[in-house]
């Protein structure tokens, strides 16, 4: 018989140690699974977590991989802090890409200084509008935001599929579902280090992502809106007592996370792809959920968490090449990691007592 007894005090050490323990356990369980399936576990772990970052340019590429995750997770943190369950960031990302793509393709002769801000704005707007659907349905009709945001992800994926095969398809694409390439002004450029040159694919979007995470932290930790979000998550009744409206907070956090996901879509396309295509995201919207949890809903920690999860993604590529593992094996790590983090949450809030049936019986007769 397992029973959960709430902890009276929440120790700081436990809070910090939870992700560390979760990562360690994930590695152990992952190694066991690899060994069971006949792979050399040490070799596998090496390929996963060391090989992808053994050169400076590879480390730079790790940041590139983490970039959309950090952006999306910085927004999701607001939602989950307020107990609003947006799991449709993937769809919001796609709409952000489509909106910014509209700007890039329609006003293709804009100069760079006007193009970039406009595209960021359009991306944010696209994601925000898409997130407003679950937000308004929730506040207006009390509709479950989990299911709505999830359904909308599929609608969004079908929408971009249509748009790149239909109206926006480049006539010169030989029938491939691709739009025209963006003009240079609409592309995010790589960072050129004086004396070194380019480092991998490191682009200015990464800098933006780090600043965004920092900004999210400032808002959440230092500003009144962040306070409102946290109060609503901790104690909605106290939130109403303080005078904030639950509906306002719901709309706000979905708006923030939608806009962030939209910007991530814009950055991903402008920095790495250069045109719209049916698949612009490799499940970043879902993976970012793990990042947000790994960061324990702290935007600053999102940076580190994004890098860890991105490492698992790159590790998948490396293991595929070196060991012939399928790329999806990354999911094994991501899944276990999320399980461990969630269990860690429980151990943070509760003492888990395991009573033997014998002692329970003795208690009954004794009572």
């Amino acid at each position: 018989m397992i029973s959960l007894v709430p902890r009276k005090d929440i120790s700081l050490a436990l809070t910090v140690m939870t992700p560390v323990i979760a990562i360690t356990l994930t590695l152990v369980v992952g190694a066991i699974i690899f060994a069971t399936l006949g792979y050399d576990p040490l070799q596998a772990l090496y390929q996963f977590f060391v090989a992808p970052v053994s050169r400076p340019d590879q480390v730079a590429n790790l940041f590139v991989k983490a970039c959309p995750l950090i952006i999306i997770a910085s927004g999701l943190v607001f939602c989950y802090r307020a107990n609003v369950w947006n799991i449709g960031a993937e769809g919001q990302l796609i709409l952000g890409a489509v909106f910014s793509g509209y700007v890039a393709l329609t006003f293709s002769d804009l100069p760079g200084w006007a193009m970039m801000p406009l595209m960021v704005f359009a991306g944010a707007l696209g994601g925000l509008l898409w997130a407003m659907i679950p937000a308004l349905l929730k506040t207006r009709f009390n509709t479950n935001e989990i299911l709505v945001s999830l359904m909308l992800t599929y609608v969004a994926a079908l929408f971009i599929d249509w748009i790149v095969r239909g109206p926006w398809r480049d006539p010169m694409s030989f029938g491939f579902p691709l739009t025209k390439m963006y003009e240079d002004a609409a592309l995010i450029s790589r960072i050129e280090f004086p004396g070194i040159g380019y480092l991998g694919q490191l682009h200015w979007g990464v800098v933006g992502a780090l600043m965004l995470a920092l900004g999210a932290w400032v808002v959440l930790a230092r500003m009144l809106v962040g306070f409102q979000v946290k109060v609503m998550g901790f104690a909605p009744r106290a939130g109403r007592f303080a005078g904030c409206s639950p509906a306002f907070v719901t709309v706000m956090v979905l708006g923030i996370s939608g806009a962030a996901a939209g910007v991530a879509g814009m950055v991903e396309v402008s920095a790495n792809i250069g045109q719209l295509q049916p698949d612009i995201s490799f499940g970043y919207g879902f993976t970012a959920i793990i990042v947000a949890f790994l960061a324990r809903l702290n935007p600053l920690a999102v940076i580190g968490a994004g890098l860890v999860v991105a490492l698992a993604e790159l590790g998948g590529d490396s293991a595929q090449i070196a060991l012939g593992m399928p790329k999806v094996v990354t999911g094994v790590f991501k899944g276990i990691l999320l399980f461990m983090l969630l269990a860690g949450e429980t151990f943070n809030r509760f003492h888990v007592e395991i009573r033997l049936p014998r002692s329970a019986k003795a208690k009954q007769t004794g009572g």
Partner: protein, 303 residues
């Protein structure tokens, strides 16, 4: 025409399995978003066992077993450790997708014999109806029987009553002495078994191969289907045909050069699900009558 309807039915079977299993779990108050992962685990184990033993029927059992075990992981975390159901379900899908790919890697490119078609004597002779309804593989019949079974158990048996009670108000059920977590554990495991069967149908009947991620989002459609059916088993059957029909319609439509882009047809099930959700939730009384009130809520006895 018969061929078209037959195709629709074939496409629907995995959805019928997965959705009716998830329906039972949700009726008990558990939202398990891990359907896709459980289906994939069912699919890969079904394929592997069918290939190893040469028996697709054994493969079917293996698929059900693998789905149930995968659901057990979810139950351990979401019920045993009271973790957030949404995130745990998501973790299960990610994990199941990855692990099935890893297990199935050596199996890619292999082929198996699928389940044979079973014609029901006499009934199969009926023109049109016989072909559509009574000339199928064993799993089709099982799927229809399972829907009927779910409906009967839920609405006409004490076990079903207890499942509904636990999903409606877990505190009251606990106060009456029912084991909330026990009931939910069984419902989740059953849901996993059914998802495993749904996954197993893919390599055993639809395409006799294993391919990474071969469910292609069917687990998520099954989740939508449960809501679309407003948590009633027979409606799952109808809804699965609608969802399957739309899939086939786009293919047929493309062949005939319809002007409506196929993507918009594909959106219909998701949009319909959202509309159903709004209709259900806009009225409190209606929501109470049509959706499990405790869905996704964590139960533990200490207040």
């Amino acid at each position: 025409m018969e061929q078209l309807i037959l195709t629709v039915i074939l496409t629907s079977v995995p959805l019928i399995f997965a959705a009716s299993g998830e329906l039972i779990a949700e009726r008990s108050g558990v939202l398990n978003l891990g359907v896709e992962g459980m289906m994939l685990m069912g699919a890969v184990f079904a394929f592997a066992v069918a290939m190893g033993t040469g028996s697709p029927v054994l493969g079917m059992f293996a698929g059900a077993f693998a789905g149930a075990i995968t659901a057990g992981i979810f139950a351990f975390f979401a019920l045993g450790l009271a973790t957030n159901q949404v995130a745990t379900g998501l973790a299960l899908t990610i994990f199941g997708t990855g692990l099935s790919g890893l297990i199935g890697a050596p199996l890619v490119g292999q082929a198996i014999d699928g389940l044979p078609q079973i014609n029901i004597p006499l009934l199969a002779e009926i023109p049109f109806f016989g072909i559509v309804m009574f000339q199928h593989d064993i799993m089709f019949y099982i799927a229809v029987i399972m829907v009927g079974l779910c409906a009967w158990v839920l609405n006409a048996t004490r076990i079903g009553l207890i499942i509904r009670a636990v999903g409606d108000n877990h505190d009251s059920a606990h106060a009456l002495g029912y084991s909330v977590l026990g009931v939910r554990l069984l419902a989740v495991i059953f849901g996993g078994m059914m998802a495993g069967l749904g996954g197993a149908y893919l390599p055993l009947v639809l395409t006799p191969h294993w391919a990474e991620g071969m469910t292609a989002g069917r687990g998520w459609i099954a989740l939508a289907l449960v809501v679309f059916a407003s948590w009633r088993p027979w409606r799952v059957l109808g809804g699965a045909f609608v969802f399957g029909g739309i899939t086939i319609m786009q293919l047929a439509g493309q062949a005939r050069g319809w002007t409506i882009p196929s993507q918009f047809l594909s959106m219909l099930p998701y949009l319909a699900t959202i509309i159903v959700l709004v209709l259900i939730s806009r009225n409190r009384e209606f929501a109470l009558a049509n959706s499990p009130a405790c869905l996704g809520r964590i139960f533990h006895t200490e207040k």
